[in-house]
């Protein structure tokens, strides 16, 4: 039996090796992808270009503009004369927000009548960028306002001396958050794609019939198709993980052994999904369509782009059957927090359950479809 499975694995690897482009892709693409993606991770939420319409032109209004410009999130890039100009800059997308300081601002503050109003306008076609800009401007103006109050002899009494300490990623470096997640996405896509096509291709090209007339048993066929995919996924993990540690200096605070074992578990789950797709599709085209739908929903559910806890309850429940979601928690916790098995119980239980269940479904569906 082991002999037969071994032969099938060798056949699979020879077949893969014959398609040079595909082999090159499987070997090189993950590393290249990680390097390219990691470059672009510093996304544009800081230093967003802002237009300033200062109708007051006083010392105070210039101070406020400087304070806004000094914030991490905003950069005063355009000094403009009219509201129309602000409108045009926002339309063109050259400025993402505009701040309007009304005429008589400094005088109003000095004479201490009603509070003076500053208007902040943001381009909300991207809501995340807009909220960041609005919140940043509100924070700057709030501090500016209380500094002004203090300098006018108003002492705001302080009751709570609030100290914040950041653990696990003290500088809140976005790379340490994204790169482990990218490692997860990369092994996920490669493994799923390799596993999903094996059977569908043989069926479409008619070679499956030839395999079936050999003494090969059906579960041997499933194992012979699954094991190379598992090996490819695991090796890819090794490569991109080492790159993330050496090139990108992501800290590794937990146990490498634990991470490798849990990665293997994850890869087994993904390969099982892939084999099921492969078994239920009649043509390669169908299998590919399933892979794409699967990949898009899994990336969306992974919790990287939208945190799972922000989703409504029914979507949170669905996300529990997405292995990628559990794996991203695992890799991030092990690498950054040094988490041990004890604090990963829910994720590990879920992955073991999914691997076992999907593995059985895969064996069963491959066996059934081959008949």
């Amino acid at each position: 039996m082991f002999n037969r499975i071994g032969n099938l694995i060798i056949k699979e690897l020879i077949q893969l090796g014959r398609d040079r482009l595909l082999t090159a892709f499987i070997v090189l693409a993950p590393a290249l992808q990680l390097i390219l993606m990691a470059q672009s991770i510093e996304q544009g939420i800081n230093e967003q270009p802002m237009a300033v319409l200062d109708l007051d032109r006083s010392r105070l209004s210039r101070q406020l503009t400087t304070a806004l410009d000094n914030s991490e999130e905003l950069r005063a890039q355009f000094y403009i004369q009219s509201m129309d100009h602000a409108h045009r800059l926002l339309d063109e997308g050259r400025a993402r927000s505009a701040v309007i300081i009304p005429a008589g601002f400094a005088e109003g503050v000095e004479s201490a009548r009603a509070p003076q109003q500053i208007l902040v306008v943001a381009d909300a076609t991207n809501t995340m960028a807009a909220s960041i800009a609005i919140n940043a401007a509100a924070g700057v103006v709030g501090r500016f306002s209380s500094d002004l109050a203090r300098s006018h002899g108003q002492v705001t009494p302080e009751f709570i001396d609030f100290r914040t300490k950041v653990r696990f990623n003290p500088t809140m470096d976005i790379r340490n958050f994204s790169i482990p997640a990218q490692v997860g996405f990369i092994i996920y896509q490669i493994t799923l794609a390799v596993a999903a096509l094996g059977l569908a291709r043989e069926r479409e090209l008619g070679t499956l019939e030839q395999l079936m007339v050999t003494p090969l048993r059906r579960f041997e066929l499933a194992l012979g198709k699954g094991l190379p995919a598992i090996a490819i996924g695991w090796l890819n993990f090794g490569v991109v993980w080492v790159i993330s540690l050496t090139v990108f200096q992501v800290p590794m605070n937990g146990s490498a052994l634990l991470l490798s074992i849990l990665t293997l578990l994850f890869v087994v789950t993904v390969v099982s999904w892939g084999l099921v797709i492969s078994a239920i599709s009649r043509t390669q085209q169908q299998a590919i369509l399933f892979v794409f739908i699967q990949a898009m929903t899994d990336v969306a559910f992974s919790g990287f782009l939208v945190p799972v806890k922000n989703m409504p309850n029914f979507l949170q429940t669905i996300s529990r059957i997405v292995p990628l979601q559990h794996y991203l928690v695992i890799i991030r916790s092990v690498m950054l927090k040094g988490a041990g098995l004890g604090s990963l119980v829910p994720q590990v239980v879920a992955l073991v359950g999914l691997a076992f269940f999907m593995g059985l479904v895969a064996l069963f569906s491959v066996a059934r479809r081959v008949e």
Partner: protein, 371 residues
């Protein structure tokens, strides 16, 4: 190049697509279906922060303080610890985003008019959630002070106020911002179908039959491309209907402009697919390449969630090399800003340039290959 022969290829391709319902779904309906799925996952406006607390003071004031922090639904106290050691495991396992320690003597110090120290430990692994948690805790702690203050001074406590406006999407609803952007992602499917169609013809050997006729390579590729661009436009209309009717996203621009630019987008993607097709022998390799080069990076680099960074040249180039980055912008501008070609000249020309360049190169390579 003969128009008649090209038209014959267009007709043949359309027949292929319409004859097989699975193929028809892949080309025409899958973008609408995927948009429907993804929009639900990507559009939540609630951000949830989970807090763990250790109250060593046990006074009514400390309880009052905790209650004031969690009075909004968005920040909830999920774990009340009785000792310091209990807190860390919860932070490691990710049950809580931050823990708060209220020291003994908190109430005594405040009533004596001295500031009381409160410490927050924030999980920095996800800088977005962590920053949010830290910001909210600090802001609400100072709001608590103002709320309990009996020494409120009259008058100029707050000389400057901020008023904010979100343009183009007044309610800052992420659904309205995400759906147009997701269109760029789901409209990768027609390109996928086009590349598969090219590879299938090579793989199954029917290309040889076609080339034995007077048909020229450029006519063959152009005919196929036209058929799939046409189908892509139909799929874009279906997906737009889902956006406008089901998700009630306002469509403020002109339909003709949108479809013209969608055609431009398909040209850029499919032009690249022609180059890929020259080198690729099998459908499975095509899937790998589209998955790894187009689909997965599009989620992270196209400005879907956060705007594209312009801070480093490397990241800007990587992002703008992806056609989807340009179409994310186009789609948001036409849907939400309602602007026309004069504002979109730059992304439109870049896409057209990419498309024409890739097509010329692809046709040249293809001619060499079949010669």
């Amino acid at each position: 190049m003969s128009v008649r022969r090209t038209a014959a290829i267009v007709r043949k391709e359309l027949l292929h697509i319409f004859r097989d319902p699975r193929n028809l779904f892949l080309v025409a309906a899958s973008p609408a279906f995927l948009l429907f799925l993804l929009a639900y996952i990507f559009s939540f406006d609630v951000t949830q922060v989970n807090l763990g607390a250790l109250d060593l003071d046990h006074t009514s004031l400390s309880r009052h303080y905790l209650a004031s922090l969690t009075s909004n639904q968005d920040l909830s106290l999920v774990y009340a610890a009785s000792s310091y050691d209990e807190l860390l495991p919860h932070l490691v396992s990710g049950d809580v985003d931050a823990v708060l320690v209220i020291p003994p003597g908190f109430a005594d110090r405040i009533s004596a008019g001295q500031p009381a120290q409160v410490q927050a430990i924030v999980d920095g692994t996800d800088p977005f959630s962590g920053g949010q948690a830290a910001g909210w805790l600090e802001a609400r702690s100072s709001a608590f002070v103002a709320g309990t203050s009996t020494l409120r001074l009259p008058g100029r406590e707050n000389p400057v106020e901020v008023r904010s406006q979100a343009w183009y999407n007044a309610g800052l609803e992420s659904l309205l911002s995400m759906v147009p952007a997701l269109l760029a992602i789901v409209l990768i499917m027609p390109t996928m179908a086009f590349s598969l169609a090219l590879a299938r013809e090579t793989e199954t050997g029917t290309l040889e039959g076609l080339l034995a006729t007077p048909l020229r390579g450029s006519e063959y590729v152009t005919g196929k491309l036209l058929a799939y661009v046409l189908m892509g436009l139909i799929s874009a209309i279906l997906a737009m209907l889902v956006a406008v009717i089901w998700f009630k996203v306002p469509f403020r621009g002109s339909l003709a402009t949108y479809l013209l630019l969608a055609g431009d987008y398909f040209l850029a993607c499919m032009g690249a697919a022609v180059i890929v097709a020259v080198f690729v022998k099998s459908q499975q390799t095509v899937m790998f390449i589209i998955l790894i080069i187009f689909l997965v990076p599009s989620f992270f680099l196209s400005g879907l969630i956060t705007p594209i960074s312009t801070e480093s040249i490397g990241s800007t180039l990587t992002s703008y090399a992806l056609p989807s980055s340009h179409f994310v912008e186009i789609s948001r501008v036409v849907f939400l800003k309602g602007l026309g070609l004069d504002y979109l000249a730059q992304p439109a020309l870049v896409l057209a340039g990419m498309g024409m360049g890739a097509l010329i190169l692809g046709l040249g390579l293809f001619r060499k290959k079949i010669a």
